[in-house]
Protein backbone atom coordinates (compact mmCIF):
# COMPACT_ATOMS: atom_id res chain seq x y z
CA UNK A 1 0.00 0.00 0.00
CA UNK A 2 2.86 2.34 0.84
CA UNK A 3 4.24 2.65 -2.72
CA UNK A 4 0.72 3.39 -3.97
CA UNK A 5 0.24 6.08 -1.32
CA UNK A 6 3.62 7.58 -2.15
CA UNK A 7 2.82 7.60 -5.85
CA UNK A 8 -0.56 9.22 -5.11
CA UNK A 9 1.02 12.02 -3.06
CA UNK A 10 3.76 12.49 -5.65
CA UNK A 11 1.11 12.75 -8.36
CA UNK A 12 -0.86 15.24 -6.26
CA UNK A 13 2.23 17.38 -5.76
CA UNK A 14 2.95 17.36 -9.48
CA UNK A 15 -0.66 18.20 -10.26
CA UNK A 16 -0.64 21.03 -7.70
CA UNK A 17 2.54 22.40 -9.27
CA UNK A 18 0.97 22.26 -12.73
CA UNK A 19 -2.22 23.89 -11.43
CA UNK A 20 -0.17 26.66 -9.79
CA UNK A 21 1.79 27.17 -12.98
CA UNK A 22 -1.43 27.44 -14.99
CA UNK A 23 -2.60 30.20 -12.63
CA UNK A 24 0.65 32.14 -12.76
CA UNK A 25 1.62 31.58 -16.41
CA UNK A 26 0.72 34.28 -18.89
CA UNK A 27 2.93 37.34 -19.10
CA UNK A 28 6.01 35.34 -20.17
CA UNK A 29 4.26 33.19 -22.74
CA UNK A 30 2.26 36.09 -24.19
CA UNK A 31 5.22 38.46 -24.51
CA UNK A 32 7.51 35.82 -25.97
CA UNK A 33 5.05 34.50 -28.54
CA UNK A 34 3.91 38.03 -29.41
CA UNK A 35 7.58 38.74 -30.03
CA UNK A 36 7.04 36.76 -33.25
CA UNK A 37 4.88 39.60 -34.57
CA UNK A 38 4.20 40.49 -38.20
CA UNK A 39 7.67 42.03 -38.61
CA UNK A 40 9.24 38.98 -36.97
CA UNK A 41 7.42 36.57 -39.30
CA UNK A 42 8.69 38.56 -42.30
CA UNK A 43 12.26 38.42 -40.98
CA UNK A 44 12.17 34.65 -40.37
CA UNK A 45 10.51 33.99 -43.74
CA UNK A 46 13.16 36.07 -45.50
CA UNK A 47 15.95 34.35 -43.53
CA UNK A 48 14.73 30.88 -44.53
CA UNK A 49 14.28 31.87 -48.16
CA UNK A 50 17.73 33.46 -48.35
CA UNK A 51 19.86 31.02 -46.35
CA UNK A 52 17.78 27.83 -46.18
CA UNK A 53 18.26 25.98 -42.87
CA UNK A 54 21.74 27.42 -42.29
CA UNK A 55 20.82 30.00 -39.64
CA UNK A 56 18.59 27.80 -37.44
CA UNK A 57 21.43 27.49 -34.90
CA UNK A 58 21.44 31.27 -34.53
CA UNK A 59 17.71 31.35 -33.74
CA UNK A 60 18.24 28.62 -31.14
CA UNK A 61 20.89 30.80 -29.44
CA UNK A 62 18.51 33.78 -29.41
CA UNK A 63 16.04 31.84 -27.21
CA UNK A 64 18.19 31.97 -24.03
CA UNK A 65 19.17 35.56 -24.86
CA UNK A 66 15.52 36.62 -24.88
CA UNK A 67 14.89 34.64 -21.70
CA UNK A 68 17.70 36.28 -19.70
CA UNK A 69 16.62 39.80 -20.71
CA UNK A 70 12.92 39.25 -20.02
CA UNK A 71 13.54 37.42 -16.73
CA UNK A 72 14.90 40.66 -15.31
CA UNK A 73 11.56 42.40 -15.94
CA UNK A 74 9.77 39.65 -13.99
CA UNK A 75 11.95 40.25 -10.93
CA UNK A 76 11.73 44.03 -11.24
CA UNK A 77 7.93 44.00 -11.59
CA UNK A 78 7.35 41.47 -8.79
CA UNK A 79 9.62 43.30 -6.34
CA UNK A 80 8.80 46.95 -7.07
CA UNK A 81 5.13 46.47 -8.09
CA UNK A 82 5.84 49.13 -10.68
CA UNK A 83 5.84 49.09 -14.47
CA UNK A 84 9.01 49.78 -16.40
CA UNK A 85 8.12 53.38 -17.32
CA UNK A 86 7.43 54.32 -13.70
CA UNK A 87 10.58 52.51 -12.57
CA UNK A 88 12.68 54.61 -14.98
CA UNK A 89 11.03 57.88 -13.81
CA UNK A 90 11.56 56.88 -10.20
CA UNK A 91 15.09 55.61 -10.66
CA UNK A 92 16.58 58.15 -13.06
CA UNK A 93 14.42 61.27 -12.82
CA UNK A 94 12.17 63.14 -15.26
CA UNK A 95 14.68 63.61 -18.12
CA UNK A 96 15.23 59.90 -18.75
CA UNK A 97 11.66 59.17 -17.77
CA UNK A 98 10.15 61.42 -20.44
CA UNK A 99 12.70 60.30 -22.98
CA UNK A 100 11.78 56.64 -22.44
CA UNK A 101 8.05 57.26 -22.34
CA UNK A 102 7.89 59.38 -25.51
CA UNK A 103 10.30 57.09 -27.35
CA UNK A 104 8.17 54.11 -26.34
CA UNK A 105 5.00 55.84 -27.50
CA UNK A 106 6.54 56.72 -30.85
CA UNK A 107 8.08 53.28 -31.52
CA UNK A 108 5.00 51.43 -30.30
CA UNK A 109 2.71 53.41 -32.57
CA UNK A 110 4.92 52.84 -35.60
CA UNK A 111 5.21 49.13 -34.76
CA UNK A 112 1.44 48.99 -34.41
CA UNK A 113 1.17 50.32 -37.97
CA UNK A 114 3.42 47.47 -39.15
CA UNK A 115 1.18 44.96 -37.35
CA UNK A 116 -1.82 46.29 -39.29
CA UNK A 117 0.23 46.11 -42.51
CA UNK A 118 0.85 42.41 -41.77
CA UNK A 119 -2.76 41.65 -40.81
CA UNK A 120 -4.32 43.37 -43.84
CA UNK A 121 -1.80 41.75 -46.21
CA UNK A 122 -2.48 38.31 -44.70
CA UNK A 123 -6.26 38.51 -45.00
CA UNK A 124 -6.05 40.05 -48.48
CA UNK A 125 -4.80 36.59 -49.56
CA UNK A 126 -8.26 35.25 -48.64
CA UNK A 127 -9.99 38.15 -50.41
CA UNK A 128 -10.77 40.21 -47.29
CA UNK A 129 -10.47 43.95 -48.01
CA UNK A 130 -8.20 46.06 -45.82
CA UNK A 131 -10.98 48.23 -44.36
CA UNK A 132 -12.85 45.15 -43.17
CA UNK A 133 -9.72 43.69 -41.53
CA UNK A 134 -8.97 46.95 -39.71
CA UNK A 135 -12.59 47.33 -38.54
CA UNK A 136 -12.90 43.75 -37.31
CA UNK A 137 -9.50 43.85 -35.58
CA UNK A 138 -10.34 47.09 -33.74
CA UNK A 139 -13.70 45.66 -32.70
CA UNK A 140 -12.16 42.36 -31.60
CA UNK A 141 -9.43 44.07 -29.60
CA UNK A 142 -12.01 46.29 -27.98
CA UNK A 143 -14.07 43.28 -26.90
CA UNK A 144 -10.94 41.54 -25.55
CA UNK A 145 -9.95 44.37 -23.19
CA UNK A 146 -13.36 45.72 -22.23
CA UNK A 147 -14.45 42.66 -20.25
CA UNK A 148 -12.88 44.29 -17.20
CA UNK A 149 -10.73 41.35 -16.09
CA UNK A 150 -7.01 40.83 -16.59
CA UNK A 151 -7.46 37.07 -16.27
CA UNK A 152 -9.93 36.86 -19.18
CA UNK A 153 -7.76 39.06 -21.38
CA UNK A 154 -4.73 36.90 -20.64
CA UNK A 155 -6.44 33.62 -21.42
CA UNK A 156 -7.74 35.01 -24.73
CA UNK A 157 -4.22 36.20 -25.53
CA UNK A 158 -2.86 32.71 -24.71
CA UNK A 159 -5.41 31.21 -27.11
CA UNK A 160 -4.01 33.45 -29.86
CA UNK A 161 -0.51 32.34 -28.78
CA UNK A 162 -1.59 28.74 -29.32
CA UNK A 163 -2.77 29.65 -32.83
CA UNK A 164 0.71 31.09 -33.49
CA UNK A 165 2.02 27.50 -33.27
CA UNK A 166 0.27 26.83 -36.60
CA UNK A 167 3.66 27.29 -38.25
CA UNK A 168 4.87 24.01 -36.74
CA UNK A 169 2.40 21.70 -38.57
CA UNK A 170 2.82 23.93 -41.65
CA UNK A 171 6.56 23.15 -41.61
CA UNK A 172 5.79 19.41 -41.44
CA UNK A 173 3.39 19.73 -44.40
CA UNK A 174 6.20 20.71 -46.78
CA UNK A 175 8.08 17.53 -45.81
CA UNK A 176 11.56 18.83 -44.99
CA UNK A 177 14.39 16.31 -44.62
CA UNK A 178 15.36 15.92 -40.97
CA UNK A 179 18.93 15.01 -41.91
CA UNK A 180 19.28 18.32 -43.83
CA UNK A 181 17.86 20.33 -40.93
CA UNK A 182 20.30 18.74 -38.48
CA UNK A 183 23.26 18.76 -40.85
CA UNK A 184 22.86 22.29 -42.15
CA UNK A 185 20.90 24.01 -39.43
CA UNK A 186 22.20 22.93 -36.07
CA UNK A 187 25.93 23.27 -36.74
CA UNK A 188 26.98 26.94 -36.47
CA UNK A 189 28.01 28.24 -39.88
CA UNK A 190 28.00 31.44 -41.93
CA UNK A 191 26.57 30.57 -45.35
CA UNK A 192 28.56 32.28 -48.10
CA UNK A 193 31.02 33.76 -45.58
CA UNK A 194 30.49 36.67 -43.20
CA UNK A 195 29.36 39.45 -45.55
CA UNK A 196 27.12 42.51 -45.41
CA UNK A 197 23.95 40.65 -46.37
CA UNK A 198 24.46 37.95 -43.75
CA UNK A 199 25.25 40.60 -41.13
CA UNK A 200 22.03 42.45 -41.98
CA UNK A 201 19.99 39.26 -41.55
CA UNK A 202 21.65 38.35 -38.24
CA UNK A 203 20.92 41.85 -36.94
CA UNK A 204 17.33 41.72 -38.16
CA UNK A 205 16.79 38.44 -36.28
CA UNK A 206 18.22 39.94 -33.09
CA UNK A 207 16.07 43.03 -33.59
CA UNK A 208 12.92 40.95 -33.81
CA UNK A 209 13.84 38.84 -30.77
CA UNK A 210 14.53 41.67 -28.30
CA UNK A 211 12.28 44.71 -28.65
CA UNK A 212 11.84 47.66 -26.26
CA UNK A 213 8.08 47.21 -25.94
CA UNK A 214 8.66 43.69 -24.58
CA UNK A 215 10.43 45.03 -21.49
CA UNK A 216 7.67 47.54 -20.77
CA UNK A 217 4.90 45.05 -21.53
CA UNK A 218 6.09 42.14 -19.40
CA UNK A 219 6.90 44.24 -16.36
CA UNK A 220 3.52 46.03 -16.47
CA UNK A 221 1.80 42.73 -17.10
CA UNK A 222 3.49 41.14 -14.07
CA UNK A 223 2.30 44.09 -11.96
CA UNK A 224 -1.25 44.07 -13.34
CA UNK A 225 -1.47 40.33 -12.73
CA UNK A 226 -0.35 40.89 -9.15
CA UNK A 227 2.63 38.53 -9.10
CA UNK A 228 4.54 38.61 -5.82
CA UNK A 229 8.18 37.91 -5.00
CA UNK A 230 7.34 34.32 -4.09
CA UNK A 231 5.93 33.86 -7.62
CA UNK A 232 9.23 34.80 -9.30
CA UNK A 233 10.35 31.15 -9.83
CA UNK A 234 7.07 30.46 -11.65
CA UNK A 235 7.44 33.70 -13.59
CA UNK A 236 10.82 32.41 -14.73
CA UNK A 237 9.31 29.10 -15.85
CA UNK A 238 6.60 31.06 -17.68
CA UNK A 239 9.23 33.14 -19.48
CA UNK A 240 11.29 30.05 -20.28
CA UNK A 241 8.28 28.23 -21.76
CA UNK A 242 7.52 31.34 -23.82
CA UNK A 243 11.14 31.47 -25.04
CA UNK A 244 10.94 27.82 -26.13
CA UNK A 245 7.72 28.52 -28.05
CA UNK A 246 9.12 31.62 -29.74
CA UNK A 247 12.20 29.68 -30.94
CA UNK A 248 10.06 26.74 -32.12
CA UNK A 249 7.86 29.06 -34.19
CA UNK A 250 10.85 30.94 -35.62
CA UNK A 251 12.59 27.68 -36.57
CA UNK A 252 9.37 26.31 -38.11
CA UNK A 253 9.04 29.38 -40.34
CA UNK A 254 12.68 29.12 -41.44
CA UNK A 255 12.16 25.41 -42.22
CA UNK A 256 8.97 26.21 -44.13
CA UNK A 257 10.45 28.90 -46.37
CA UNK A 258 13.87 27.21 -46.43
CA UNK A 259 12.26 24.09 -47.91
CA UNK A 260 9.90 25.72 -50.39
CA UNK A 261 11.43 29.10 -51.24
CA UNK A 262 15.17 28.54 -50.82
CA UNK A 263 16.99 30.93 -53.16
CA UNK A 264 14.07 33.34 -53.58
CA UNK A 265 14.24 36.97 -52.46
CA UNK A 266 11.48 37.53 -49.91
CA UNK A 267 10.82 40.86 -48.20
CA UNK A 268 7.16 40.38 -47.31
CA UNK A 269 5.64 37.49 -45.33
CA UNK A 270 2.32 37.76 -47.19
CA UNK A 271 4.13 37.44 -50.54
CA UNK A 272 6.01 34.45 -49.10
CA UNK A 273 2.68 32.88 -48.08
CA UNK A 274 1.34 33.31 -51.63
CA UNK A 275 4.51 31.72 -53.04
CA UNK A 276 4.29 28.78 -50.62
CA UNK A 277 0.62 28.33 -51.64
CA UNK A 278 1.72 27.51 -55.19
CA UNK A 279 3.64 24.46 -53.90
CA UNK A 280 1.57 23.56 -50.85
CA UNK A 281 -1.82 25.31 -50.65
CA UNK A 282 -2.46 24.25 -47.05
CA UNK A 283 0.99 25.27 -45.79
CA UNK A 284 0.64 28.64 -47.57
CA UNK A 285 -2.82 29.19 -46.08
CA UNK A 286 -1.53 28.30 -42.62
CA UNK A 287 1.32 30.73 -43.08
CA UNK A 288 -1.15 33.51 -43.94
CA UNK A 289 -3.33 32.66 -40.93
CA UNK A 290 -0.22 32.67 -38.75
CA UNK A 291 0.78 36.06 -40.11
CA UNK A 292 -2.61 37.52 -39.24
CA UNK A 293 -2.45 35.99 -35.76
CA UNK A 294 1.10 37.30 -35.25
CA UNK A 295 0.00 40.83 -36.20
CA UNK A 296 -3.00 40.59 -33.89
CA UNK A 297 -0.95 39.35 -30.94
CA UNK A 298 1.64 42.06 -31.53
CA UNK A 299 -1.07 44.72 -31.73
CA UNK A 300 -2.71 43.51 -28.50
CA UNK A 301 0.54 43.65 -26.54
CA UNK A 302 2.04 46.79 -28.04
CA UNK A 303 -1.04 48.97 -27.58
CA UNK A 304 -1.31 47.75 -23.98
CA UNK A 305 2.39 48.44 -23.31
CA UNK A 306 1.86 52.12 -24.19
CA UNK A 307 -1.38 52.45 -22.23
CA UNK A 308 0.12 50.87 -19.12
CA UNK A 309 3.21 53.09 -19.35
CA UNK A 310 1.15 56.30 -19.59
CA UNK A 311 -1.19 55.21 -16.84
CA UNK A 312 1.72 54.49 -14.49
CA UNK A 313 3.40 57.85 -15.03
CA UNK A 314 0.29 60.04 -15.10
CA UNK A 315 -1.22 58.28 -12.14
CA UNK A 316 -4.36 57.22 -14.01
CA UNK A 317 -6.08 53.96 -13.20
CA UNK A 318 -4.32 51.55 -15.54
CA UNK A 319 -5.44 48.01 -15.01
CA UNK A 320 -7.30 45.56 -17.18
CA UNK A 321 -9.21 44.74 -13.98
CA UNK A 322 -10.95 48.11 -14.24
CA UNK A 323 -14.01 49.06 -16.27
CA UNK A 324 -13.87 51.75 -18.92
CA UNK A 325 -15.57 54.36 -16.70
CA UNK A 326 -13.04 53.69 -13.92
CA UNK A 327 -10.00 54.04 -16.19
CA UNK A 328 -11.13 56.21 -19.14
CA UNK A 329 -7.67 57.54 -20.01
CA UNK A 330 -6.10 54.08 -19.96
CA UNK A 331 -8.63 52.79 -22.46
CA UNK A 332 -8.57 56.06 -24.44
CA UNK A 333 -4.79 55.63 -24.99
CA UNK A 334 -5.37 52.03 -26.06
CA UNK A 335 -8.07 52.84 -28.60
CA UNK A 336 -6.50 56.04 -29.96
CA UNK A 337 -3.25 54.17 -30.70
CA UNK A 338 -5.14 51.24 -32.19
CA UNK A 339 -7.57 53.12 -34.41
CA UNK A 340 -5.06 55.74 -35.63
CA UNK A 341 -2.53 53.01 -36.57
CA UNK A 342 -5.25 51.09 -38.39
CA UNK A 343 -6.33 54.19 -40.33
CA UNK A 344 -2.75 54.84 -41.53
CA UNK A 345 -2.74 51.49 -43.34
CA UNK A 346 -5.95 52.44 -45.15
CA UNK A 347 -4.53 55.71 -46.54
CA UNK A 348 -4.07 55.18 -50.29
CA UNK A 349 -0.39 55.43 -51.21
CA UNK A 350 0.82 55.57 -47.60
CA UNK A 351 4.60 54.90 -47.45
CA UNK A 352 4.22 51.57 -45.67
CA UNK A 353 7.64 50.21 -46.65
CA UNK A 354 9.31 53.39 -45.40
CA UNK A 355 7.37 53.14 -42.13
CA UNK A 356 8.49 49.52 -41.66
CA UNK A 357 12.12 50.51 -42.23
CA UNK A 358 11.82 53.57 -40.00
CA UNK A 359 10.48 51.45 -37.13
CA UNK A 360 13.68 49.42 -37.11
CA UNK A 361 15.89 52.51 -36.90
CA UNK A 362 13.90 54.28 -34.20
CA UNK A 363 13.59 51.09 -32.14
CA UNK A 364 17.38 50.99 -32.07
CA UNK A 365 17.49 54.30 -30.20
CA UNK A 366 15.27 53.00 -27.40
CA UNK A 367 16.62 49.48 -27.06
CA UNK A 368 20.10 50.31 -25.66
CA UNK A 369 18.62 52.91 -23.31
CA UNK A 370 15.95 50.51 -22.04
CA UNK A 371 18.50 47.73 -21.53
CA UNK A 372 20.96 49.99 -19.69
CA UNK A 373 18.18 51.19 -17.37
CA UNK A 374 17.12 47.59 -16.79
CA UNK A 375 20.62 46.49 -15.72
CA UNK A 376 21.07 49.54 -13.47
CA UNK A 377 17.67 49.06 -11.82
CA UNK A 378 18.41 45.37 -11.21
CA UNK A 379 21.63 46.41 -9.42
CA UNK A 380 19.91 48.82 -7.04
CA UNK A 381 20.15 46.92 -3.77
CA UNK A 382 17.95 49.43 -1.89
CA UNK A 383 15.02 48.58 -4.15
CA UNK A 384 15.72 45.00 -5.16
CA UNK A 385 17.06 43.65 -1.84
CA UNK A 386 17.94 39.98 -2.16
CA UNK A 387 16.62 39.97 -5.75
CA UNK A 388 19.49 42.23 -6.88
CA UNK A 389 21.49 40.86 -9.80
CA UNK A 390 24.16 38.45 -8.60
CA UNK A 391 27.66 38.51 -10.08
CA UNK A 392 26.97 35.71 -12.55
CA UNK A 393 23.69 37.37 -13.56
CA UNK A 394 25.50 40.63 -14.16
CA UNK A 395 28.13 38.83 -16.22
CA UNK A 396 25.54 37.00 -18.33
CA UNK A 397 22.99 39.81 -18.60
CA UNK A 398 25.63 42.54 -18.87
CA UNK A 399 27.37 40.57 -21.62
CA UNK A 400 24.11 40.05 -23.50
CA UNK A 401 23.19 43.73 -23.15
CA UNK A 402 26.65 44.87 -24.31
CA UNK A 403 26.51 42.62 -27.39
CA UNK A 404 22.95 43.69 -28.19
CA UNK A 405 23.87 47.37 -27.89
CA UNK A 406 26.85 47.01 -30.24
CA UNK A 407 24.98 44.86 -32.75
CA UNK A 408 21.75 46.86 -32.71
CA UNK A 409 23.74 50.06 -33.22
CA UNK A 410 25.50 48.52 -36.19
CA UNK A 411 22.13 47.34 -37.46
CA UNK A 412 20.71 50.84 -37.15
CA UNK A 413 23.72 52.22 -39.00
CA UNK A 414 23.47 49.58 -41.72
CA UNK A 415 19.78 50.44 -42.18
CA UNK A 416 20.63 54.14 -42.44
CA UNK A 417 23.63 53.55 -44.69
CA UNK A 418 23.01 50.27 -46.57
CA UNK A 419 26.42 50.24 -48.34
CA UNK A 420 28.31 50.56 -45.06
CA UNK A 421 29.05 46.86 -44.60
CA UNK A 422 29.60 45.97 -48.24
Amino acid sequence: MQPVTKAYYHLRRVWKAIALYLVICGPGIVVMVADNDAGGITTYAATGAKFGYNLIWFLVILGPVAYFVQEMTVRLGAVTKRGHAEAIFDGFGPFWGWFSLLDLLFVDWLTLVTEFIGMTAALRIFGVPGWLTVSVVCLLMGVIVLNGRYWTWEKIAIAFCALNLIYIPAAFLVQPKLSDIIGQGLIPNFPGGFNGTLFFFLMANIGTTIAPWMLFFQQSSVVDKGLKEKDIPWGRVDTLVGAVFTVLVAVAIVILTGTVLHGADVDDAAVAARMVMQTSPYAGAMMAIGLFDAGLLGAICISLASSWAFGEVFGWAHSLNTKIREAPWFYACYFIALISAGLVVLIPGAPLVLITLFVQVVAVTLLPAALVFLILLLNDRRTMGERTNKLWENLVNGGIVAVIIVLSTLYGLSTLFPSMFG
Binding site: F89, D90, G91, F92, G93, P94, W96, G97, V313, F314, G315, V361, V364, T365, P368, A369, V372, L376, L377, D380, R382, T383, T409, G412, L413, L416, F417
Partner: protein, 65 residues
Protein backbone atom coordinates in the same frame (compact mmCIF):
# COMPACT_ATOMS: atom_id res chain seq x y z
CA UNK B 1 -16.87 79.57 -29.17
CA UNK B 2 -15.86 81.30 -25.96
CA UNK B 3 -16.81 78.23 -23.97
CA UNK B 4 -14.80 75.98 -26.27
CA UNK B 5 -11.74 78.24 -26.05
CA UNK B 6 -12.12 78.36 -22.29
CA UNK B 7 -12.38 74.58 -22.08
CA UNK B 8 -9.26 74.12 -24.22
CA UNK B 9 -7.37 76.67 -22.09
CA UNK B 10 -8.42 74.94 -18.89
CA UNK B 11 -7.51 71.50 -20.20
CA UNK B 12 -4.10 72.72 -21.41
CA UNK B 13 -3.41 74.38 -18.06
CA UNK B 14 -4.40 71.21 -16.21
CA UNK B 15 -2.20 69.12 -18.48
CA UNK B 16 0.80 71.41 -17.98
CA UNK B 17 0.26 71.32 -14.23
CA UNK B 18 0.08 67.53 -14.37
CA UNK B 19 3.43 67.39 -16.21
CA UNK B 20 4.93 69.73 -13.60
CA UNK B 21 3.63 67.61 -10.76
CA UNK B 22 5.16 64.50 -12.36
CA UNK B 23 8.48 66.33 -12.70
CA UNK B 24 8.31 67.37 -9.04
CA UNK B 25 7.38 63.86 -7.90
CA UNK B 26 10.37 62.27 -9.63
CA UNK B 27 12.79 65.21 -9.24
CA UNK B 28 15.18 63.21 -7.06
CA UNK B 29 16.36 60.01 -8.74
CA UNK B 30 16.04 57.04 -6.44
CA UNK B 31 19.10 55.28 -7.88
CA UNK B 32 22.31 56.20 -6.11
CA UNK B 33 24.38 58.17 -8.63
CA UNK B 34 27.61 56.25 -8.13
CA UNK B 35 30.54 56.49 -10.53
CA UNK B 36 29.53 53.54 -12.76
CA UNK B 37 25.93 54.81 -12.94
CA UNK B 38 27.10 58.30 -13.97
CA UNK B 39 29.42 56.82 -16.61
CA UNK B 40 26.60 54.62 -17.97
CA UNK B 41 24.18 57.57 -18.21
CA UNK B 42 26.80 59.85 -19.78
CA UNK B 43 27.66 57.16 -22.35
CA UNK B 44 23.98 56.82 -23.10
CA UNK B 45 23.62 60.57 -23.70
CA UNK B 46 26.61 60.56 -26.08
CA UNK B 47 25.31 57.48 -27.86
CA UNK B 48 21.87 59.03 -28.36
CA UNK B 49 23.31 62.35 -29.53
CA UNK B 50 25.46 60.57 -32.14
CA UNK B 51 22.62 58.39 -33.35
CA UNK B 52 20.11 61.25 -33.53
CA UNK B 53 22.76 63.33 -35.32
CA UNK B 54 23.17 60.56 -37.89
CA UNK B 55 19.40 60.30 -38.31
CA UNK B 56 19.15 64.05 -38.96
CA UNK B 57 22.13 63.89 -41.35
CA UNK B 58 20.51 61.02 -43.26
CA UNK B 59 17.22 62.90 -43.39
CA UNK B 60 18.92 66.07 -44.71
CA UNK B 61 20.87 64.29 -47.46
CA UNK B 62 17.82 62.28 -48.45
CA UNK B 63 15.67 65.41 -48.76
CA UNK B 64 18.45 67.38 -50.49
CA UNK B 65 19.31 64.51 -52.86
Amino acid sequence: MLTLAHTIRTMTAEFVEKIRSINRRYATPRIEMSGPVRVALLSLRIYLLVLVGLLVYKFVITVAG
